[in-house]
Symmetry: C2
Subunit: 156 residues, 2 copies
C-alpha cells in the first residue's frame, strides 16, 4: 500500500447504516475469484494515506461463507464486531463471538468461517507495507489435513 498521495482524509465519517460508513466503498474481498473464498466483502476504514503505518479494514463474511485459507509474513490483529463464527489459526480452531480478539502470527495458516445464521463481521489491522498471502500447495494442504478437525474445517 505505497499510495503515498497526500490525500486529505475526512475528520468525521458517520456510520450511515450498520457496518457501512459514509463514503467508504463496499469492495470485493479479492480481485481473483473461484472457490477459495465465499461471501466476503471488504471496506477500508483507515490507511493508505502515508500518515499511518497500518490499515484498518472491516470484513464481513455472510452466513455459510469463508475467507481464503492462506498465510503470510505479516500479522493480523482482529476484533469481531458482528455475529460470530470460527477461525482456524495454525492447527487450532477457535469459536468466536462479538468482541473477541484474534491475533494471527506470521506465516500461520488461517481461515475465518461464518458458521452461524448471521454474518461474521470483523476489523482487521495490518501493516501498510506487507507481503502477499500465499495459499497452500497440495502437499501443504495434505499436511494440514492430517488433523481430522482441520480437514473437516477448511474450505479451498
Amino acid at each position: 500500500m505505497s499510495t503515498d498521495t497526500p490525500t486529505v482524509l475526512p475528520i468525521h465519517i458517520r456510520q450511515t447504516a450498520p457496518f457501512r460508513w459514509d463514503g467508504v466503498p463496499l469492495l470485493a474481498y479479492k480481485e481473483e475469484g473461484g472457490t477459495q473464498f465465499n461471501g466476503v466483502t471488504r471496506q477500508v476504514l483507515f490507511g493508505g494515506s502515508g500518515q499511518l503505518a497500518a490499515q484498518l479494514r472491516y470484513f464481513e463474511v455472510s452466513s455459510g461463507g469463508y475467507s481464503t485459507l492462506e498465510r503470510h509474513a505479516h500479522v493480523h490483529a482482529v476484533m469481531i464486531l458482528r455475529g460470530g463464527g470460527d477461525v482456524l489459526v495454525g492447527a487450532e480452531i477457535f469459536p468466536l463471538v462479538t468482541g473477541d480478539l484474534v491475533y494471527v502470527p506470521p506465516l500461520t495458516w488461517h481461515q475465518f468461517r461464518a458458521t452461524l445464521a448471521e454474518p461474521l463481521g470483523f476489523l482487521c489491522l495490518v501493516c501498510a507495507e506487507r507481503d502477499k498471502p500465499s495459499r497452500p500447495t497440495a502437499a501443504e494442504l495434505a499436511s494440514l489435513c492430517t488433523d481430522d478437525r482441520v480437514a473437516a474445517f477448511v474450505r479451498v
Copy 2:
C-alpha cells in the same frame, strides 16, 4: 513503544465482559494527573510486540469525563464502540455516535468529551513509533478560545 521483546501473543482473547478482555489490564489513561483529563481508562489490545507497526487501544471516558486537550505529529484513527459524545478536532466539534469514525490529522488539537449519560468508548489506532503529545500553552489556548464554541467546549 520500542518494547521489541519477542513476546508470544495469545491467538484468541475472549471478551470477558462488555469492553473488557481476558488478560488485558485496565490502565490509567496517563501517568500524570491533574485536571487535564477526567474519568478515562486505557486498554492496549494489540501492539508493542515488534511485529505490528501500530497499536490498537480501547479508551473509555465515563459520563461527564474528557480526554486531554493535546496535539502531536502522529495521527489518530478512531472508531466509536460504545455510547457517544463529542470531539473537538482543530476548531470543529463533531457529535459522535457508536460506529462513527474519527481521523485526527497531524498537529491538530483534539479532545474527546463524554457528554451523554453513558460512557464514551472508542478504539484508537496509532503508529507504534510516535511522538509525545503536547498541551496548549496559555497563548495557544487563548488563540483556540477566540472561537466561542471551542471556548465553551474545552476542558483543561
